[in-house]
């Protein structure tokens, strides 16, 4: 407790990636999210903290969970919210990212939540724009709030992350969730293993301090938590494996695999789930699954991030 009191503010003005956060930052976010989780379970789920803040949600890529979760978090903090999705905007008419955002900012916006298919888009904005930037996913790079809520959910169930074994299954190559998760879990002292077909595991990933395995059964036996990722067909421009059916047979998590284990295990998935591909329905809906807890914690984590970033005075 006293250690937490020492740090009251994040070391950064933007949330661009887990890479830019210290372990103390992450602990502070968790500590604050704990209080927000209490608040979103009250009859009145709002606090007036961000009454004077306007937030723009710029989504240049499709999203359900993340967008709704951010929007709810913003509204529960009493911020004013504007939503923007690329599909129905002037981006289609050829406007550049910087022009689009500068135009929105001249309408007096304080924070920008951005999802963009290009890795580094939030970093680019942070350099050129006087507003707090929050990365809600940039291409195949990072998705920091997802990693924070995943780690928060694990900590909630297991008490700590120190020394725990977390295995990430699936399409590691195209997954921003995987990279952010690895960075976050490593900073919190967990052991991390990635498991998937060799074509979907990036070369030199062991440089991040993770183990690599191609054996689902052995990895399930090894881990305390299995975080299962989706196959991102929209980012795969060549064939990485013969067919979804074959993938599901060799790398999908199904009930029989879990029944072989004689230990508790947590099953996570950042969504959207492709039922029957990376995970079967009976696993996704089983008592091991904390998928819906993840979604609930997502709102609390995002409230904490918004609240802590907004507490930085304006430059």
């Amino acid at each position: 407790m006293d250690k937490l009191m020492a740090q009251q503010q994040l070391s950064t003005r933007h949330l661009l990636g887990i890479k830019n956060l210290t372990r103390e930052d992450i602990e502070l976010i968790f500590h604050t999210a704990q209080s927000f989780k209490h608040i979103i379970n009250r009859p009145v789920k709002k606090t007036p903290s961000l009454r004077d803040i306007t937030i723009a949600n710029l989504f240049f890529e499709h999203s359900t969970r993340t967008r709704i979760s951010f929007e709810l978090a913003e509204k529960r903090l009493s911020a004013d919210v504007i939503n923007f999705s690329a599909a129905s905007s002037s981006v289609k008419k050829g406007e550049t990212l910087l022009d689009t955002v500068n135009n929105i900012l001249s309408m007096k916006v304080d924070m920008v939540v951005i999802r963009h298919p290009a890795p580094g888009a939030p970093h680019f904005l942070a350099r050129h724009i006087n507003a707090h930037i929050i990365n809600a996913g940039d291409g195949t790079h990072e998705h920091p709030t997802q990693a924070l809520l995943d780690a928060f959910s694990i900590r909630e169930k297991l008490g700590t992350l120190q020394g725990k074994r977390i295995a990430i299954f699936g399409d590691i190559l195209h997954s921003r969730v995987a990279l952010s998760n690895i960075l976050c879990l490593r900073k919190l002292g967990a052991q991390v293993r990635v498991c998937g077909p060799p074509t979907l595991i990036p070369k030199h990933i062991d440089a991040l301090g993770v183990e690599v395995s191609y054996d689902v059964r052995a990895s399930l036996r090894w881990c305390d938590v299995a975080n299962v990722l989706r196959i991102q067909l929209e980012r795969q421009h060549i064939k990485y494996f013969p067919s979804l059916r074959e993938y599901s047979q060799y790398f999908g998590i199904h009930k029989a695999l879990l029944d072989e284990l004689d230990k508790p295990i947590l099953i996570m998935h950042p969504g959207p789930i492709n039922r029957g591909v990376e995970i079967t329905s009976d696993v996704a809906d089983s008592e091991h699954s904390i998928i819906l807890d993840q979604v609930e914690n997502g709102v609390a984590i995002r409230m904490a991030v918004l609240y802590l970033l907004a507490s930085h005075r304006r430059l």
Binding site: Q8, I39, V44, P48, S311
Partner: protein
């Protein structure tokens, strides 16, 4: 204020509460995080003994997200847990007599924020305020105190701190010339 005086004052406050609320059937003590809970914990334990009732309604309220100085002070104040799991279920404070407990009543802004927070939990029948120290000439809002441990008349820049001992029982109240002096003394231990 030394330990002996503090002890007397705490027991007077408890008896005042018992006089007004008898068995606390429809009342509830609520300590304000972070400093007020030291006082409310002590009052709560004393009241349990006095009333011979070990299940007095008691909660702790954190109002960090309702402060009016958020984004105005250099550093935000870390949030503390709120514990309001009274028997009331989803509406723990509806129709109850609430006694808010804090250690020092100074500008009144803390209590105002606490009231705003409280209303998001329901509609209490009545709210009373108990503080150990009432700095009655330094108020910035029209807020008054119903149960007062001691009144302190001091300059605006003076700083009053209540120092509680770890044993959970004793403590003392110190008046510093200003905030810096208080911080300095705290660092020296």
């Amino acid at each position: 204020m030394d330990e002996y005086r503090l002890d007397l004052t705490l027991s007077r406050l408890c008896h005042q509460l018992v006089e007004d609320y008898d068995r606390f059937q429809n009342a509830c003590l609520i300590g304000l995080q972070p400093r007020g809970v030291h006082l409310s914990d002590r009052l709560y334990r004393r009241l349990q003994k006095i009333t011979n009732n070990s299940v007095l309604p008691y909660g702790k309220l954190d109002f960090t997200f309702y402060r009016d100085d958020y984004r105005r002070r250099q550093l935000p104040i870390p949030a503390q847990p709120t514990m309001l799991d009274l028997q009331g279920g989803a509406h723990p404070i509806d129709g109850r007599h609430i006694i808010l407990i804090d250690d020092v009543l100074y500008t009144g802004r803390t209590v105002a924020a606490a009231l705003r927070t409280l209303y998001d939990y329901g509609r209490p029948a009545r709210v009373a305020l108990l503080t150990l120290i009432d700095r009655r000439f330094n108020r910035e809002l029209p807020i008054q105190c119903d149960y007062v441990g001691m009144q302190v008349d001091a300059l605006d820049e003076a700083y009053v701190r209540v120092l509680w001992e770890d044993d959970g029982l004793s403590g003392r109240v110190v008046l510093y010339a200003n905030r810096e002096a208080a911080m300095h003394a705290a660092q020296k231990g």
